[in-house]
């Protein structure tokens, strides 16, 4: 029986608690996405931040290098399309998922 990723009972925290907060950050939900990914055209973007605040999967986060813009994270985006739908300037559009991008570097920030 495969026991990869399983925890020996003696190593479990008391009451099977999880003592590392936010451990789900290491969990890749980016591979729930199929075919396409949202891409922001920063020319059209007015830095309103709506994509960031209305994303159920927290796939957007403030760009530390370019203030006001938001970075998209392939590791978490499930591809629901809410950001496209809600962007007031239609600055976000779908782009076909490329094989080499799909399993790109895990952010897991």
């Amino acid at each position: 029986m495969a026991d990869e990723g399983m925890t020996p009972w003696k190593d479990l925290a008391l009451g099977c608690a999880m003592t590392e907060p936010g451990s789900s950050r290491r969990f890749n939900t980016g591979d729930w996405r199929s075919r396409r990914r949202p891409v922001t055209d920063r020319e059209k973007c007015i830095k309103c931040g709506l994509c960031w605040i209305i994303c159920p999967d927290m796939a957007y986060s403030p760009d530390p290098e370019d203030e006001g813009f938001y970075n998209w994270d392939s590791f978490y985006c499930k591809g629901c399309g809410i950001c496209l739908e809600e962007c007031p300037k239609d600055a976000i559009s779908w782009q076909e998922e490329r094989e080499e991008d799909k399993y790109g570097p895990a952010c897991g920030s």
Binding site: K10, L14, G15, M18, P21
Partner: protein, 391 residues
């Protein structure tokens, strides 16, 4: 030093909980448990006990609030009976799985239906597998001592499990009798403040009650099972501590006149006292009989039990609950299972009696002994006998 007082056992239980300086009591009224929580709410109302009394809207919420309170790191107590215990059912398993040292007094009472407010053990026998440590008291003094002991054991960092102290409804809860009530200094010396191993704390966030995916459920259960098994030495250790502090000795299995006894009654709870008196009479008549009293029910002290019954030819098990569809009551069923692999095992006769508070008298115990002996000598299997059924 403690003081000798006459007190209703329920009030004594509440006084003991007060002496343990609990932080939270969440409880819902149900006969015959009510006097315990009434007195606790009095102690809180009068400022004798600095605690939050949460008057919840059901026993389900009582146990749920206890889980929350204990998870927050507070010393937590509740008390219930019968239907109330049954209503808590699903949360009882969660309390032990989360390893929360809640202490609960169970004023044992029959389960409906038909509805009955009187004493037997059907409520707690339906909760055998909840993963709690469970003890049974025989009299008021034991209720006091076992309550102190329960906090001490449950909160021990080697244990971290909830604990139920069983006391017979009415037969104990409503009886006024003498006992020694320890004073605060003695209790403080015995029971240190509760220092939880983990708690809901913004400074060190943890997630409690995670989904037990198939990859972890078995291991989570194994950990709880081991914890319950491993609580045994701690339970005994803290009884020893209790003896040192208060001068009263407790053992997982108590025996009475078992030396050279051929027949042993096996009892739990307050009925043990009547059985002892019956045994005295039978001994006067030259019968080799004795009593084995199960004080620690979970984890079951198998070795202590085997030692206690060594040499006996017949066990007359007094079951105070039914296990429908099985040829014995819950206690006898378990004992038969444990004895199966033992050489030289005694014959197990099983008597279900005292349901819904029906009195069981010394003369009835004498009859049971005779029946058990006869069955044993016939060698035939003896199915569970319901004592005193009117045909």
């Amino acid at each position: 030093m403690g003081r000798r007082v006459g007190l209703e056992v329920s009030l004594a239980c509440a006084e003991a909980v007060g002496l343990c300086n609990v932080d939270v009591i969440a409880a819902y009224p149900i006969t015959p448990q009510t006097h315990i929580v009434e007195h606790l709410s009095e102690l809180v109302a009068d400022g004798h006990l600095d605690a939050e009394f949460v008057p919840v809207e059901s026993e389900h919420s009582a146990m749920s609030a206890c889980v929350g309170s204990s998870a927050a790191g507070a010393r937590t107590f509740t008390s219930t009976s019968s239907q109330g215990l049954a209503l808590m059912h699903e949360i009882l398993f969660i309390a032990s799985a989360l390893r929360l040292p809640i202490v609960m007094a169970v004023a044992n009472r029959s389960l409906s239906g038909p509805i009955s407010i009187w004493n037997d053990h059907s409520d707690i026998m339906a909760e055998r597998d909840i993963g709690w440590i469970q003890t049974f008291a025989e009299n008021g003094q034991e209720v006091v001592d076992l309550t102190l002991h329960a906090f001490k054991v449950a909160e021990d960092s080697r244990v971290c499990l909830p604990m139920a102290v069983n006391l017979d409804g009415f037969n104990l809860t409503h009886v006024i009798e003498p006992m020694e009530l320890p004073d605060q200094e003695q209790v403080d010396a015995y029971l240190p403040p509760f220092k939880p191993s983990q708690r809901l704390d913004t400074a060190a966030p943890i997630s409690m009650g995670m989904v037990g995916v198939p990859e972890v459920y078995t291991e989570a259960k194994k950990a709880c099972l081991e914890a319950l098994e491993n609580s045994y030495p701690v339970i005994v250790e803290h009884w020893k501590g209790l003896a040192e502090q208060f001068g009263r000795e407790y053992k997982p299995i108590e025996t009475y006149r078992t030396d050279d006894a051929e027949l042993l009654f096996v009892t739990m709870g307050s009925m043990g006292e009547t059985v002892m008196s019956a045994v005295d009479q039978m001994r006067d008549d030259g019968q080799k009989v004795g009593v084995v009293r199960i004080r620690l029910w979970r984890p079951f002290p198998v070795d202590d039990f085997m030692n206690a019954i060594a040499g006996a030819k017949v066990l007359a098990v007094i079951d105070r609950a039914l296990s429908p569809g099985v040829p014995a009551g819950p206690v006898a069923t378990e004992l038969r299972g444990m004895l199966y692999t033992k050489d030289d095992r005694p014959y197990v006769a099983d008597f279900v009696c005292g349901l819904s508070g029906r009195d069981v008298t010394r003369s009835q115990f004498t009859e049971m002994a005779a029946q058990a002996k006869e069955a044993a000598s016939s060698g035939k299997e003896m199915f569970c006998q319901m004592v005193g059924v009117k045909e």
